[in-house]
């Protein structure tokens, strides 16, 4: 029963208010892409024990999609941020590095 702060409405939303959307920052591959690219886009998902970036929707709240950085092992949340970005913002990266010095960085 996670608590995630919706970056749009500022509410600390309980998991029952949220809908999960899988891995964040996927790059869409459409017509013209190679089989390998399309396969990676459609099926290949990271499954890290540790730092992970995820999509969540404040489905029973403001309805907005947002992104969350959290640790899959401890459920520690490093931050949430709006979905309109292709990579995690610097302040989130810094916070993760401070908490997880061994983290290899967003790739």
């Amino acid at each position: 029963m996670l608590l995630l702060i919706c970056p749009y409405c500022g509410v600390a939303a309980e998991e029952t208010e949220l809908a999960p959307g899988g891995e964040a920052h996927l790059k869409r591959f459409g017509p013209g892409s190679s089989d390998a690219e399309f396969e990676a886009y459609l099926f290949a998902r990271k499954n890290p024990k540790g730092v992970h970036f995820e999509r969540w929707r404040h489905a029973y709240g403001c309805g907005k999609w947002f992104l969350a950085a959290r640790c899959t092992a401890t459920l520690e949340v490093f931050g949430t941020y709006p979905a309109q970005t292709s990579g995690p913002p610097d302040d989130i990266i810094d916070r993760i590095k401070a908490r997880r010095p061994d983290w290899k960085g967003f790739a």
């Binding site: 029963m1 591959f29 459409g30 017509p31 013209g32 886009y41 401890t74």
Partner: protein, 1001 residues
């Protein structure tokens, strides 16, 4: 025999007698009794039979950890099995029955298992019931099910109600002993929002029983003063009878409050489940005493030393007038002293340690109590109750040195902190050598969302068995600091406690007990697991503690091994020749004690189990006696049977009437999503497989949506409202999902596109007017031009009908002349009635979803969820015409280019006509030659929609068939459940009005 003493008992009110029954026998207790104390007061030592060997069992403990005294409580609609007598507060008229025996508690046939114990070793089930394989299902399982299980499951519907409440706090303190009370007080004085919960009905925990002094006050007085101060503070919530069942992620805690267990039927909810979010949790849950492992330690009358003390002090009950105390620590001497002070005889204290020179043993000796050091109990004598113990040297093999006659044994193997709440979310434990116990490892706590400790142990639960208040004081300050609250400086209340010498870990008594003794040493009372079973598991390779648990059932069932786990682990460690922390513990999982399913369900039962969506016309349907079916969360009329009609006859009538005269359908559930903005056309071209941006204003177009894999996900009719506005109709069950899907792409992928969406499904009531008389009805209603010229097929127009402002779509899902009319939801019922009134002489009848399905199947129209199952492409369904070849991109286009989806060998949509006119069973497969490795027939297709067509008078079906469209005219076979086959000819999927003339008039 156990008796009630004539004086004493701090919790009972002798002026308030209470009558209850046990196995039908009328007994009497006092207000303040638990069922356990009342049973003991009535001399009822024997309270149940053990699970496997049906051995006589008595009360061992005085709280939630009790493994033996489980009873069936209540009757009929208030029957509940496996209730712990030790936590059941006595009330007038309580009815309890003991469990797991036949024909009676006193004489039980199952006890034969006891004498066959050598044939029932650990892992017995796994070893015995493997061969022959068929015997498990037909022979062994039925027999085991008959004899297994503890209480009887209730048969009636639960008469009680339950409720759930959300709550929030800065600090949740679990445990109302002195540590929890002090922690709550420090936090409350600092201004924190504090909750303090206690599982029993009383505050103070063990301290008042043990006669502790706090700040020079008797503990009971200190407790009363502290509770009074807390109760007077607005930022404090106190809840007794409330058990913290589990700690979950990010400070979520379930609290089970037993509101009316002790006052059944008084109108209050029986339990209230608090769904708590706590910023920090203090686990001041105390500690549980461990039994000692000696032969016969399960004979009724053998009890935990602390429990015996509780019965004596709290309820003035003496389980035996001649008691032997057996211990490895100083604490148990408190029991000896308490017995002596209550005028009971302490035969001896058998202390496994070579020396016992602490303050408490000294006090006991001074009272004249015999203390024997370096000694052990070799064996307890007695069957249904203790008659004596055989004493031996702890370091020996059990050679008997003396027999002591007694009728109760108080045992203490030390204390185990209650670390459950600390462990539920991943907190780690460390092994404390001095206390021979696992306690919370503050360096590895369960953490919350910011990475800091979520649960903090305090007092005995943190391993501070003695200076509990001082530890709680330190821990609550850490917790408050973490949530940004500054505690006030204050002196720590001083606990005045006698010094205690170290305990000596004793896992088997005597140390070198032979096999004969070990096979009578119980570790887990509830599951009948003995020392010999755990040793056998170790020998057979179950070295992992989790494996050994499952192999032997140690620590399972309703008590989850609260008193047995540590002893079991230690025995396993010894057998494996490994240190205890190396072996580790099994995983602690919620709930701490069982929570009734009723409490977990709360109010979500009966008609409010799930919200029901109703259309504006729902009341009319119900008044007509419609048969309803669920569609998503909606309920829709399936058909409207007339008196004497079966549903099938009603459907046939509705179909025929619609085809021949006039049918009215409540289509309000249809999804309606407005897509608007400068980039709306571009967006819809990405979402739909065909082109929507080119749709002229005033026109409608059927469209398909696919997921990125290229598989169909939804369909519906699009209407272009104005230059930058489109209205998408989705399936009834798909509106919310498709709206979410649109938002996902707009917010997360094309966030620079200027598009708004709005799900307006419930804003409009929609009525389909269908059949040859449809236009006549609209003309009668009057108000707008609905002719073929003014409103041709696949056009829409705004206007009014019979004075109702409406939007009329000329679309058809039945193949008939058809209009779908949307009016504001508030006017839906009135407009629906107006249609029926004006249409009566035109033969208007309502029709339900089944007639809708039959008519669309007659026309070969697909239905999302029937023809599609998430693996079907538009091309599979012959809908290539609705998939744009010109568009550079749309969702699913790349997916559809994959080689498997472009293969000519796909199963494709065709129609099937049975040769004999029968209806192909739903779910039937088209069989092919040969079978697979499992002996199952190969298949080459399946039916997706199959109905009896009232129009054609025979069975019709659609389905997917390998290279189907190339095989027109071929006869194929469908399997059926009874093993026979149905022959059908492959035909086109459109059975009725192939040229589509009827809808376009």
């Amino acid at each position: 025999m156990s008796i009630r003493l004539t004086s004493g008992g701090r919790l009972i009110d002798r002026s308030a007698p209470i009558d209850f029954t046990f196995n039908g026998k009328h007994l009497r207790g006092f207000a303040g009794d638990t069922l356990a104390s009342a049973l003991l007061a009535n001399g009822q030592m024997l309270v149940g039979r053990s699970f496997k060997y049906h051995r006589p069992r008595g009360i061992v403990a005085s709280g939630a950890e009790e493994p033996n005294a489980l009873v069936n409580l209540g009757q009929g609609a208030r029957a509940e099995p496996n209730q712990r007598a030790t936590t059941t507060e006595l009330f007038d008229g309580l009815q309890a029955r003991s469990q797991n025996h036949w024909p009676s508690l006193e004489f039980d046939v199952g006890v034969l298992n006891n004498y066959a114990a050598r044939l029932l070793p650990g892992g017995f089930y796994y070893k015995t019931f493997i061969h022959p394989r068929a015997a498990w299902k037909h022979l062994f399982e039925p027999i085991i099910r008959q004899t297994a299980g503890l209480g009887a499951a209730p048969k009636d519907r639960d008469a009680d109600r339950y409720e759930q409440v959300y709550a929030f706090c800065d600090l949740l303190v679990v445990g109302g002993g002195v540590a929890g009370l002090h922690a709550a007080l420090v936090a409350a004085r600092a201004g924190a929002r504090v909750w303090l919960v206690e599982q029993s009905a009383h505050w103070g925990g063990r301290a008042p029983v043990d006669g502790d002094m706090i700040d020079a006050l008797p503990a009971a007085d200190w407790v009363n003063a502290t509770v009074a101060e807390l109760a007077g503070m607005a930022n404090v919530t106190l809840r007794a009878r409330t058990m913290a069942a589990g700690v979950y992620d990010h400070g979520y805690v379930l609290l089970d409050e037993r509101l009316a267990d002790h006052t059944p039927g008084d109108g209050r909810p029986r339990h209230r489940l608090w769904r708590m979010r706590a910023a920090r949790i203090i686990a001041a849950t105390g500690a549980i005493e461990r039994p000692l492992s000696f032969a016969g330690n399960d004979v009724p009358g053998v009890m935990l030393a602390s429990a015996l003390r509780d019965y004596l002090v709290n309820w003035a009950v003496s389980p035996g007038q001649r008691t032997v105390v057996v211990t490895n620590n100083d604490d148990a001497y408190r029991t000896a002293i308490a017995l002596h002070q209550a005028g009971q005889t302490v035969v001896a204290v058998i202390d496994a340690r070579d020396q016992a020179d602490g303050a408490l043993p000294a006090q006991a000796r001074a009272l004249g109590i015999r203390v024997e050091t370096g000694k052990a109990i070799a064996r307890v004598k007695g069957g249904k109750h203790v008659t004596g113990v055989e004493v031996c040297r702890q370091t020996g093999d059990g050679t008997i040195s003396r027999f002591l006659a007694c009728n109760a044994v108080a045992m203490s193997g030390g204390w185990s902190p209650v670390v459950h709440l600390y462990s539920h979310c991943g907190g780690k434990l460390i092994w404390d050598e001095a206390g021979a116990m696992f306690r919370p490892d503050a360096a590895h706590p369960p953490i919350t969302q910011d990475g800091s400790a979520m649960v903090i142990g305090a007092g005995a639960a943190n391993g501070a068995l003695r200076e509990a208040i001082a530890d709680a004081d330190a821990q609550v300050r850490i917790a408050l600091k973490a949530v940004g609250i500054k505690p006030k400086k204050s002196a720590v209340p001083r606990q005045d406690l006698p010094d205690e010498a170290a305990l000596q870990p004793v896992w088997i008594m005597p140390q070198a007990a032979g096999v004969g003794l070990r096979a009578k040493v119980w570790l887990d009372y509830q599951n009948d697991v003995k020392v010999s079973d755990v040793q056998l598991a170790a020998r057979e390779g179950y070295g992992s503690v989790e494996h050994a648990k499952r192999y032997t059932t140690l620590g399972m069932a309703t008590d989850q091994g609260k008193i047995s786990n540590i002893n079991g682990l230690a025995v396993l460690a010894e057998a494996l020749n490994e240190p205890v922390p190396q072996v580790g513990t099994t995983t602690f999982r919620p709930p701490y004690t069982p929570v009734p399913l009723g409490a977990l369900a709360g109010e979500a039962r009966g008609e409010i189990f799930q919200p029901l969506r109703k259309t504006p016309m729902d009341g009319w349907h119900a008044a007509q006696g419609a048969t309803f079916e669920p569609v998503g969360l909606w309920r829709r009329p399936y058909c409207y049977p007339r008196p004497g009609e079966t549903p099938r006859q009603a459907v046939a009538r509705e179909v025929k009437n619609t085809r021949q005269a006039l049918g009215l359908l409540d289509a309000s559930t249809l999804g309606k999503i407005i897509v608007k903005g400068p980039d709306a056309g571009r967006f819809l071209d990405m979402l739909y497989t065909n082109v929507m941006s080119s749709l002229p204003v005033g026109r409608c177009r059927y469209g398909l949506m696919c997921n990125e894999q290229g598989f169909l996900s939804d369909d519906g009719v699009m209407a272009r409202i104005d230059d930058d506005t489109w209205l998408c109709h989705t399936t009834s069950g798909g509106a919310d999902r498709i709206h979410g899907w649109m938002e996902d792409w707009l917010q997360c992928e094309w966030w620079d596109w200027q598009v708004f969406t709005a799900n307006v499904t419930e804003h409009y009531a929609q009525i389909a007017v269908v059949g040859p008389n449809a236009r006549k009805l609209l003309e009668r209603l009057g108000g707008m031009e609905v002719s073929q010229d003014a409103l041709p097929f696949m056009a829409w127009a705004d206007g009014s009908l019979a004075g109702f402002g409406c939007r009329v779509y000329r679309i058809s899902f039945s193949g008939e002349l058809s209009y779908e009319i949307a009016v504001p939801a508030s006017q839906g019922a009135a407009f629906w009635q107006a249609c029926h009134d004006a249409g009566a002489s035109l033969g208007a009848m309502p029709y339900g979803t089944e007639a809708l399905h039959v008519m669309r199947a007659e026309k070969g129209f697909i239905m999302i969820g029937d023809e599609t199952d998430g693996t079907v492409t538009p091309q599979d369904l012959g809908l290539d015409w609705a998939v744009s070849k010109k568009k550079a991109d749309f969702l699913g286009k790349r997916g559809q280019e994959r080689s498997h989806l472009t293969s000519p060998d796909r199963w494709k949509l065709v129609g099937f006509e049975t040769l004999d006119g029968s209806v192909i069973p739903e779910g039937a497969y088209v069989i092919a030659q040969g079978s697979n490795a499992n002996g199952q027939r190969h298949v080459q297709g399946r039916v997706t929609s199959t109905y009896r067509s009232p129009t054609l008078g025979r069975g019709i079906a659609m389905g997917l068939l390998l290279r189907g469209p190339e095989r027109m005219g071929e006869v194929v076979s469908f399997n059926t459940v009874d093993g026979s086959t149905v022959q059908a000819r492959v035909v086109g999927p459109v059975f009725y009005d192939r040229d589509g003339e009827k809808q376009n008039v």
